[in-house]
């Protein structure tokens, strides 16, 4: 059985960055990618807005991907395309299938860069017919940008996060009519820039506090029933109205795609839907690390690649056994937080905490506390659930920690 110092599962913006950084640290790795090409989901994200931090330029998704892929190829790192991992085992063996056969390899360390999948109609249980014309936004994006086919002439989009907004514009430019966008929350999740340039520019109505309560159309979508929702996000009776469409796009959330992670018995966080990690981005199995959308959902691809960089360093430390024994502290957030990662940190290492909050907050303070002691207070004019936030915790502060570390929101 072939053996590798490091195997990276996933060749998107996280995996490529990790591989590149590892090579710069003189570690040879094997990158395994399921598609026929590298770059991951970026290849279908033809809009721009990527790379401002990492490359100091505004790039389209494919351009960003090409930057990473060019550097990757130039470094001569080993990789397999069309290779689907079917088993990740506790002993760090990996089984995968590709046109050359079924393979089993041994890894000394593993980087999980698995990416995410989209939440489906079946997950959110919209009742109604099940004909053609119902897609997740990413699926429609693939048809349009990769295959050159438009999914409808009169489209409605559920979800006003950035993916939904981007597709509203994309479809309009493809000469489809985007009849409207519905958002179950009383506010849009997307960037203001996208609201302006994807909806307002084209006079596409945004229906807040509204959701789709039924899809009609036997062979193909013919209409949808929309309903207003109350503060508990439950449909308000008698608020229904019908809109005639021939396609519905669902932009209702991304889910880290962790099937092999779970099967390996790695401990998961039900809030992030990714593995629990320490400050080295190491999972509950020593030597298996995770980064990118497969760890938690990001909104800026530059930070996805940055996680890949960080993980590469962690792998290096792990392989060269230069990690010190950590003094572990558990990290958590109060009820305002959906999650805070890493879940466990080392008192002796400065760390960047990343978190998301449940609802938009204005003019609040983020407090870092340990026991009774307030270690740090950060004023924030605005925090949104749609934006992953980061707080750098310096070593001097960590040294003061007695027990656990907790993030709190003070209004």
């Amino acid at each position: 059985m072939k053996s590798y110092k490091c195997v990276i599962i996933g060749g998107g913006s996280a995996g490529l960055a990790a591989a590149i950084q590892l090579k710069k640290l003189n570690i040879d790795s094997l990158l395994i990618e399921k598609e026929e090409f590298l770059g991951g989901i970026l290849n279908q994200c033809i809009h721009n807005g990527f790379g401002l931090t990492r490359f100091k330029e505004e790039l389209t998704g494919p351009s960003y991907a090409e930057r990473l892929v060019s550097e990757f190829m130039a470094l001569g790192i080993e990789y397999h395309l069309e290779s689907t991992v079917i088993h990740l085992n506790k002993d760090k063996t990996i089984e995968y299938i590709n046109p050359q056969g079924v393979h089993k390899i041994q890894a000394e360390s593993i980087v999980l860069a698995l990416g995410a999948r989209e939440r489906t109609r079946g997950n959110i249980m919209i009742p109604g017919d099940r004909g053609a014309g119902i897609w997740t936004a990413g699926s429609a994006q693939k048809y349009l940008n990769m295959d050159g086919y438009c999914v409808g002439k009169k489209v409605f989009i559920l979800g006003s996060g950035d993916i939904g907004l981007i597709m509203a514009r994309r479809l309009t430019l493809a000469k489809a009519k985007v009849v409207g966008v519905a958002e179950i929350m009383p506010y849009s999740n997307g960037l203001t820039r996208n609201l302006v340039q994807c909806l307002y520019d084209f006079d596409i109505p945004l229906h807040l506090s509204t959701t789709i309560t039924r899809i009609n159309g036997n062979q193909r979508v013919e209409s949808i029933e929309l309903s207003r929702v109350d503060e508990n996000l439950k449909p308000i009776p008698n608020s229904e109205f019908i809109v005639e469409v021939d396609a519905v796009l669902l932009s209702v959330g991304l889910i880290p795609d962790n099937i092999i992670t779970e099967e390996a018995g790695i401990i998961m966080d039900p809030q992030t839907k990714g593995p629990r990690i320490n400050q080295n981005y190491e999972t509950s199995i020593p030597g298996i690390f995770a980064c990118g959308n497969g760890l938690h959902i990001h909104d800026v691809v530059d930070y996805v690649s940055e996680e890949g960089d960080v993980v590469a360093q962690s792998v290096f430390d792990y392989l060269t056994q230069s990690s010190s024994v950590p003094e572990s502290i558990n990290v958590s957030g109060d009820a305002n937080f959906i999650y805070v990662i890493p879940h466990v940190i080392d008192k002796n290492k400065a760390v960047k905490l990343k978190f998301r909050i449940r609802r938009p907050l204005k003019n609040v303070k983020v407090r870092v506390v340990s026991g009774d002691e307030v270690l740090m207070t950060l004023p924030k004019t605005q925090i949104l659930p749609a934006e992953m936030e980061m707080i750098q915790i310096p070593l001097t502060l960590l040294q003061k920690v007695k027990s656990d570390l907790r993030l709190e929101i003070i209004v």
Partner: protein, 120 residues
Amino acid sequence: MKHELTCIVCPRGCLIQLVKEGDQYICSGNQCKRGEVYAIQEVTEPRRMLTTTVRIEGSKLKRLPVVTSKAILKEDVFKMIDILEKIVLYAPVQVNDVIVSNILDSGIDIIASRSIKKDA
């Protein structure tokens, strides 16, 4: 003549009011100078970056993503789409290759957003 618009320069999303007085625009609601610059531009000559795809032959990939080299006039967006819809390219293409030069006499090019190899 009064205009109200949301600034997109930073995540704050200030609601800006612009009032034209003579030749000048009086700007309020913004929290920085960039907002004022954006607001005036947006009201006098709104511009957008255009990203779309163009048909390509000679490769496994069927569409080439393209982008404008600079922000184009918002009113020209669909005219450019019409032009790009009619184009058929042939692989190979290099990232940043100019696909259409000086489109609609705008001084702006349509450039390839990625490379596509022949039969790649």
